[in-house]
Amino acid sequence: MTAAVAERRSGIAGALSDVFFARPQLLTFLLLTPPLIWIGVVYIGSLFALLLQSFYSLDDFSGVVVHEFTLATYEQLLEASNAQIILRTVLMAVLVTVASAIIAFPIAYYAARYARGWKKALFYLAVMMPLWSSYLVKVYAWKLILAKEGIITWFANFLHLSWLLDGVLALPVIGGPSLSFSYIGTFLVFVYVWLPYMILPTQAALERVPVNFIEASADLGADPRQTFRTVIFPLALPGIVAGSIFTFSLTLGDYIIPQIVGNSRLMIGQAVYTLQGTAGNIPLAAAFTVVPMLIMAVYLWMAKRMGAFDVL
């Protein structure tokens, strides 16, 4: 044992070092305590306080929160208007996730399989830059694009396709007075803003597909299409699932994008924001936030079973 032969160190710093050396757990404990207090007490504590509030209710007449245990607030979630908000948001999250996966795959596949050297670095930066650049700036860019007098309308006119744009906007439900006041607009912005979160894990999973698997598949007579379907895609799937955690979770909780680009029908995030703000109905707002938490808990559990955490 080294400890037995080492000389004692002088001074307080030295004495402390000897203690840490003899008891490594003590050092771990000391290192871990401050950040754990921050996250464990401040953050998790706040989450529990929020959860607790969802079991209170708002007195309809006085507008005061009644601090008694009740499930009435959760019953309110099932009312038609509130249930519609939840359904609408979940449906949007599903569509955004599927579209992101479809657009992300070729980029990830090209970057993982064909890009080398400076091209690889370029691909990486080309995905990282939009991922990290300002969220509001990105949303604002789409406000410019989708505006009635904006570039899409101009482009449609340029190609003599205005009839097509008008036809799309005239569609029930997804249409609207202009793209920036329609579900199509909201959908496009969501896909745009979360796309990099899908590309990176998909690419990470594709990078890990062993070359000899692909060669073996080809040697055994599979054509490229079969190799893709039976070897590459199943191995890339955990990466896609990992990416979908982000696209799904972020869409569920966002309230800025549907507020800036979208029609007046609320999504979960907007409902939470207005309920806690102007309406002062913290219990119902809290109950609303439990929905994405539960959905994400189930989602994370399924993703873990599919091995999605290994590529994060």
Binding site: L32, Y140, G253, Y273, P292
Partner: protein
């Protein structure tokens, strides 16, 4: 996968990949274009004329920009500093030993970015309400540091894993105490990872809006100012000028972080 390195990609794949990258980048180019338009009441395309006067207007006659800018810089600087301290401590502790509950604790540190921002925001706000904490710069910083810790932690933990334990043991055997070992052996090894993590944390905090709307009260950070301009626009090109500025301020630390971590594993911002 590298067997196809010298074979070129199928045309369809190449087109889809390039189209995808264009989709990611063209919208940002428009932000720059509209900063120069002469039309201030609408987003007319193509811009009727080009001018640089909005940069001057933003600089000289819009005092409402400076307060939010100063607040955002202040918040980002302090939140980054806190995140560096707490994130490094957590990474050091969790990478050096294995103990019961370690996985759960590392999951805890990732939770603030795995849950939608609105949940973090409303949870913190209701906690402030319950404990009667008045809104201040510090309530904003508290929210920001909570998710900035994750970014530093992610960067630091990847570097700690590659740090050889034998170096630390050699230093201790040669008579250095724990603090000297940290100063002369560990810090030089993890320094660039911390710098990269700190820069990403700064960019993230400088730009954050969802959690901030819940923890700011009546205060206005730069993103909250921008959100206000998006909802009730006046002088739209000035908003573009600020957007260009925000874009550059967040982009430079990201490029720097990439440069600092490019030789290692690509952990720079593997998750936001």
């Amino acid at each position: 996968m590298s067997s196809n390195a010298n074979r070129s990609a199928p045309l369809g794949l190449r087109i889809a990949a390039i189209a995808g990258l264009l989709f990611l980048h063209l919208p940002l180019a428009l932000i720059f274009l509209y900063a120069f338009t002469t039309e201030e009441k609408s987003f007319a395309f193509p811009p009727p004329g080009l001018t640089t006067k909005w940069f001057e207007v933003a600089w000289t006659s819009r005092p409402d920009i400076w307060g939010p800018l100063y607040l955002s810089l202040q918040v980002a600087a302090i939140a980054t500093l806190l995140a560096l301290i707490f994130g490094t401590l957590a990474a050091a502790a969790l990478s050096r030993t294995r103990f019961f509950g370690r996985e759960t604790i590392s999951l805890l540190f990732i939770l603030p970015i795995a849950l939608p921002g609105i949940i973090t925001g409303i949870a913190l706000r209701s906690a402030f309400d319950i404990m009667s904490v008045p809104f201040s710069v510090w309530t904003i910083i508290l929210g920001h540091a909570t998710f900035c810790i994750v970014v530093v932690y992610n960067n630091a933990v990847a570097r700690f894993r590659r740090l050889h334990g034998s170096l630390v043991e050699a230093s201790m055997d040669l008579g250095a105490n724990a603090f000297q070992t940290f100063r002369h052996i560990i810090l030089p090894q993890i320094g660039t990872a911390l710098l990269a993590g700190g820069m990403l944390a700064f960019a993230l905090s400088f730009d954050e809006v969802i959690v901030t709307t819940f923890t700011a009260g009546q205060q206005t950070t730069l993103p909250i100012w921008m959100l206000g301009e998006l909802i009730r626009p006046r002088q739209r090109p000035v908003t573009n000028v600020v957007a260009v500025f925000v874009f550059v301020v967040t982009l430079l630390p990201i490029l720097a972080a990439y440069y600092l971590t490019r030789d290692g594993e690509h952990t720079g911002g593997s998750s936001k």
